[in-house]
């Protein structure tokens, strides 16, 4: 067996060559990790428009976000004016919200991690757990063709996850996610995320549009990435509860 380090190097090698032919040494966790960290890099900065539609209202938020590695993430609302300055900070498994109107920082309790993030169809859990998918799940290749892969992910028995199954459709060249389906514990499909409008940013390809669709109701959240930049140097203190409050 190859050691993980060699596997990973091999995988990077494969990636850099962007080999069109199927590889017998396909490392599924590494592939998923690569897909899940598409938007992150060493660090990132982005402007995002989030359009949320529910049965009762429709609204558009403009957000500025920063990330560093997989464990640090900060997002601040720019618009609408009523919520300007509302911010979310993620450090590893914990999430804090800052509310400028009352000038308070609020830590999200574990019991509320399933709650909506900024009113969207993403949850606080999505922020936290997405980065551990390659560790929390085991993977199985369902299909492979010239276009890409279809990969099934099942949670490890002891993994602290909310889903019963995930199915990834991944595009081969460029390497980007196309669709992720989320199933609950009864294996009923609950939610889909679609990715499209792939653009090249620096040396990587990014789907600039991400559509989150819960299947039980006719609602959706659309994320549109703008001005996404990677691998810039961010001040370390940016990702701290104190700076969350300062701005």
């Amino acid at each position: 067996m190859l050691s993980p380090a060699i596997k990973y190097t091999l995988f990077l090698l494969l990636l850099s060559l962007a080999l069109p032919s199927p590889s017998p040494a396909l490392d599924l966790p590494a592939l998923i990790r690569e897909v899940e960290t598409r938007y992150q890099g060493v660090s990132s900065h982005a402007l995002v428009t989030m359009e949320i539609e529910t049965a009762h209202w429709k609204r558009t938020l403009r957000l500025e976000s920063w990330s560093e590695g997989r464990d640090r993430f900060l997002a601040r609302i720019l618009e609408p004016a009523k919520e300007k300055g509302v911010a979310t900070l993620k450090i590893e498994n914990e999430v804090w919200n800052y509310l400028p109107k009352v000038d308070r920082v609020m830590k999200i309790p574990p019991s509320m991690m399933g709650g909506a993030w900024m009113g969207s169809h993403l949850t606080n859990d999505d922020l936290v757990k997405a980065n551990r998918i390659d560790e929390d799940y085991t993977f199985e290749l369902l299909e492979e063709d010239d276009a890409g892969w279809l990969i099934k992910a099942l949670p490890r028995p002891d993994a602290p996850v909310v889903w019963g199954k995930l199915v990834y459709r991944i595009n081969r060249t460029p390497l980007v996610p196309v669709q992720i389906s989320y199933f609950d514990e009864e294996m009923i499909e609950i939610r889909q995320i679609h990715f499209d409008q792939v653009e090249q940013v620096g040396d990587r390809w990014i789907p600039m549009r991400m559509l989150v669709k819960p299947l039980e109701k006719a609602e959706q959240t659309l994320l549109l990435y703008q001005n996404i930049e990677f691998d810039l140097s961010l001040p370390q203190r940016l990702f701290s509860v104190r700076s969350l409050k300062r701005k």
């Binding site: 049965a55 609204r59 509302v86 509310l99 999200i108 509320m112 900024m118 009113g119």
Partner: protein
């Protein structure tokens, strides 16, 4: 004449008659009392369950009580409220709005249910204002006050005067957040309520949730809680089909089941107690009939009809039963009345028990309910008739010659 004879016969062996009577009297009066205590307990439970939260009848959008969807609202209509208040059975009318979200102070954040109320109206429906253990129950209709359950206050580590932040998603999708000042802490004894419920002003919550002039429900208290179902039916006619008028039986199905099962166990209790008492009466009358075989023989010999003999013995048992019933139910009612009102405080020996959504306070208190008097009385008459019938039949079937001979 039969009547006179029956009384004389009873009086002839007055010791035995009195002993039998006293057994009946005690069983009737204790039965009435214990049924009264049961009723008192259930009345307390029902009162606590409805007065802590629901009220007796709740009017809301169809399906709201199951789903508690933020958008299932109705207009705050002063005219409707006044009209409800003017209904004869209705005591209190409280318009409410409900919001779920996070309450936070410093590092502590807890999920909570916020009930927006008008304090003056709410106190006529629930009695949370009497359960304040710290601070006060606010009087103002407006303002950013909050009254928390004691468990919630402990978890958030707040006391009256402290600040809390509430965050939720408003009806327009925006992030509703505001500061609240803790005004009071209540303790209802219900674990779930004390750990998750908080009261705020209706006007404040309407603004936070961006639901101006909107309500989720109108909660009512009525003068006769046990009559909630017909009252709710009556009220429902005033509202369109998109609304529902629900009585406490549907809001608290466990409570209704508990009361229904009590109705059955009440009958079983009556049967057991009276089976014993009935055997006592049966025994007495068999004895008295056997004693008087010769006497009955004489009566038959001088031409009394067997049916009259039977009626005589039956009449004796009925008089015995009737007298016991009068004395027994009298003393039973007296005992019940003595134990009604505040009852006997047992808080030194036991704490409140939460059961079927209600709280049984630590006290012995009885309540006088017509059924609790009627059921024992009717059953007692039937039992004494039955217990008298067998000996009476035996007496009427005596053959004069054999009876005179004393066989």
């Amino acid at each position: 004449m039969l009547w006179q004879m029956a009384v004389r016969n009873l009086w002839r062996n007055w010791r035995r008659t009195l002993l039998t009577m006293s057994a009946l009297v005690i069983s009737v009066s204790l039965l009435i009392l214990s049924l009264g205590v049961f009723s008192g307990m259930f009345a307390d439970m029902l009162a606590s369950a409805t007065q802590q939260y629901h009220g007796h009848i709740v009017i809301s959008k169809l399906g709201y009580q199951e789903q508690r969807q933020l958008h299932d609202t109705m207009q705050y209509d002063q005219h409707v409220i006044d009209q409800l208040q003017a209904t004869s059975d209705v005591y209190g009318v409280s318009p409410r709005l409900r919001g779920f979200g996070l309450l936070s102070r410093d590092e502590q954040t807890e999920p909570a249910e916020l009930l927006g109320i008008e304090p003056g109206r709410e106190r006529q429906v629930t009695s949370l204002n009497e359960m304040i253990v710290a601070g006060v129950f606010p009087e103002e209709t407006r303002g950013n006050w909050i009254v928390l359950g004691s468990g919630l206050a402990d978890k958030l580590e707040v006391i009256p005067g402290d600040e809390l932040v509430f965050v939720t998603q408003a009806a327009d999708g925006s992030i509703g957040n505001d500061l609240l000042i803790v005004r009071g802490v209540f303790k209802s004894g219900d674990f779930n309520r004390d750990n998750s419920l908080a009261l705020v002003s209706l006007a404040w919550l309407q603004q936070l949730l961006v639901l101006p002039e909107m309500l989720h429900e109108i909660s009512l208290s009525i003068n006769t809680p046990m009559e909630a179902t017909p009252v709710a039916k009556q009220l429902a006619m005033q509202f369109p089909d998109t609304m529902e008028v629900i009585d406490w039986g549907r809001l608290l199905p466990e409570m209704q089941e508990a009361i229904a099962s009590y109705d059955v166990s009440r009958l079983i209790l009556v049967l057991i107690l009276y089976a014993a008492a009935g055997l006592g009466v049966l025994n007495t009358f068999f004895m008295s009939v056997l004693e008087r075989v010769r006497e009955f023989g004489v009566l038959l010999a001088i031409g009394m009809k067997p049916s009259s003999i039977r009626n005589l013995v039956l009449l004796e048992s009925l008089i015995l039963g009737g007298l016991s019933l009068l004395v027994g139910s009298g003393s039973g009612v007296l005992l019940t009345v003595l134990l009604s009102g505040d009852g006997i405080d047992l808080s030194r020996w036991m704490t409140a028990v939460t059961y079927a959504g209600g709280t049984i306070p630590p006290r012995l208190r009885a309540e006088l309910v017509a059924d609790n008097l009627l059921i024992p009385c009717v059953t007692l008459l039937l039992v004494s008739l039955f217990a008298g019938y067998l000996p009476a039949r035996r007496a009427s079937r005596l053959r004069p010659i054999a009876a005179l001979r004393g066989d």
